[in-house]
Subunit: 335 residues, 2 copies
């Protein structure tokens, strides 16, 4: 039923080889022939069967997105941006949700052993050494977002600067007891975005001569519920913080609820800074750090495209600017 390259060849009075060349813009086709082929193809509404094409060429024209929490705002935002540019270039993009390390290696084997994809982009996921070896070994183009391998091009945002700006903002307002709602409990410090953010926080504290209180750093799992719980924990320590810096707007929002439920007011009793500039942030008057998610996704996609095109001089690290957006959840400390 579907029209094949042969149909086009017949209709244009040439061979399938010529049709293939003409349609793909390859050289060695006389303009007049090319035009005729193009016209016929258009009339017949022909386009190459992707599966046949992939089989023959070896290129799958597919890229995989490896990421956790597919349902979360952050990931969807980034993934959507990536999809937009990649699909525009004719690539299919598949989202692989990976929650556990076990799942990760499973997905890996499937993807690599069969050359299911031409390239991969890892969002946030830390790649373990073994997987890393497999990837480099497979010669697969890879780009990472908000995570670094030292090998593959990475795109991040200025987490350190952002954390400094956020913390400094709080200090400028007069806060000295500043809590942290960080990410995952077992996150290795000084590695990846959360590490960078904490480093920024600590540096500002040091510069301000504010003593570090480890009990003021509570993980919130990047979730609304986690943020709410973390806030409750922070409020229960003796001499609780007058300001809190949360590593995501979801956690900040959870914190906001806990505060409100306790009858406290923001920012009169306590200040909150989030991270991301979530779509909802403006509507919650949330002071936060804006991350250029769209741009991060586009950048990663563009880098991958370059890798896919065989370029080898792509920047190994691209850091995008963040920006502190001051809204109404931050103010002077009480009294």
């Amino acid at each position: 039923m579907p029209v094949t390259i042969e149909d086009v060849a017949k209709a244009a009075g040439v061979s399938i080889a010529t049709v293939s060349r003409a349609l793909r813009g390859l050289p060695n086709v006389v303009p007049s022939t090319r035009d005729r082929v193009l016209k016929v193809a258009e009339e017949l509404d022909y386009s190459a069967d992707p599966h046949a094409s992939r089989l023959a060429s070896g290129r799958t024209m597919t890229v995989g997105l490896i990421m956790p929490l597919t349902g979360q705002w952050f990931y969807n935002k980034v993934a959507t941006a990536i999809e937009a540019v990649l699909m525009e270039e004719g690539y299919d993009v598949l989202r692989y949700s990976v929650e556990s390390v076990e799942q990760e290696s499973q997905v890996f084997r499937k993807l690599i052993r069969r050359k299911r994809v031409d390239g991969l982009v890892f969002i946030t996921i830390a790649i373990d050494p073994e997987s890393l070896a497999r990837l480099t070994n497979a010669q697969l183009p890879v780009v990472t977002i908000e995570t670094e391998t030292g090998i593959f091009p990475a795109v991040t945002c200025s987490n350190y600067d952002a954390a400094r700006a956020a913390t400094q903002h709080l200090c400028n307002l007069g806060h000295r007891e500043i809590g942290l709602i960080s990410g995952l409990p077992d996150d290795p410090l000084h590695f990846g975005p959360p590490g960078e953010r904490k480093r920024g926080y600590l540096d500002v504290l040091a510069r301000q001569g504010i003593p570090v209180r480890p009990e003021l750093d509570v993980p919130g799992n990047y979730s609304l519920a986690g943020g709410a719980e973390a806030m409750a924990t922070l409020l229960s320590v003796s001499d609780p913080p007058t300001a809190v810096f949360a590593f995501s707007d979801e956690m900040a929002t959870g914190a906001l609820k806990t505060i409100q439920d306790l009858g406290l007011r923001v920012p009169d009793d306590i200040s909150i800074v989030g991270f991301d500039d979530h779509d909802f942030a403006e509507y919650l008057h949330l002071t936060t750090v804006r991350q250029p998610l769209d741009l991060m996704g586009e950048t990663a996609a563009t880098l991958l495209l370059r890798l896919l095109h065989g370029e080898t001089d792509v920047p190994v690290r691209t850091e995008l600017d963040t920006k502190l957006i001051v809204r109404a959840t931050t103010g002077k400390p009480p009294r």
Copy 2:
């Protein structure tokens, strides 16, 4: 480099045909042979090349998701649920973002003419007659979510009942001037979810003997900003509503901000009901209608799977229950 079916055949001492049968669980393979093949395949870490397989079998093992606003919470939630069950069954799923009618027909032609996909699920998108004809003509398995064709299996939620419950809730509290922040400006009434919701709203009004005021129905484009603007509009009419029912939580949240920015209080001055039970809703204390998005996605995926398996007796309509979740943005009208 990659191991082929031939490698497995050789190693197992059988023909590729037998390997193919054994691996795919087809009959006419002696258990001992099958076991041997399975074992060898496992050892060699073999799996069939999807592209070759697709070319040969004609099945693409791919399904497409046609939806607008890929970046929005609602769509991502549903899409994620669909992906989970479909990918589990070995299908690749591609998300096609369609914003305009023009784009829609473009995507269509690409998808259908080449049998790019084995099936399609339309989320929210109304299928125009021409496309509908093409689809039925192509014999392509299709399932729709929150939109109905009368031909393909559809899964929806009880929009009418939900709207009745929401409106009734407001009436029970004593409200009589109830505004609506509906969806798109040009949405044909009585068709699709927004129509159903409006119908539910109108029916309750009628039963309560409350006159309909057309100026109290303002579209909000399902966005935060749209909701905020719509609320401003509603507040500017003479004798403004004391309660508002928004057709999405995003719009409700936008409305909340407008109200707050104007120095009014919720629910003392005005009540708000949303729709969706967005992840953020609980944290905004938002009274809303819970829609079982995960279940809707899973249901649609399962239906599609049945169609894909050649079943013909699938229910043409599946309506899932919604539930009014009363939180703190609704209360008695002022005075």
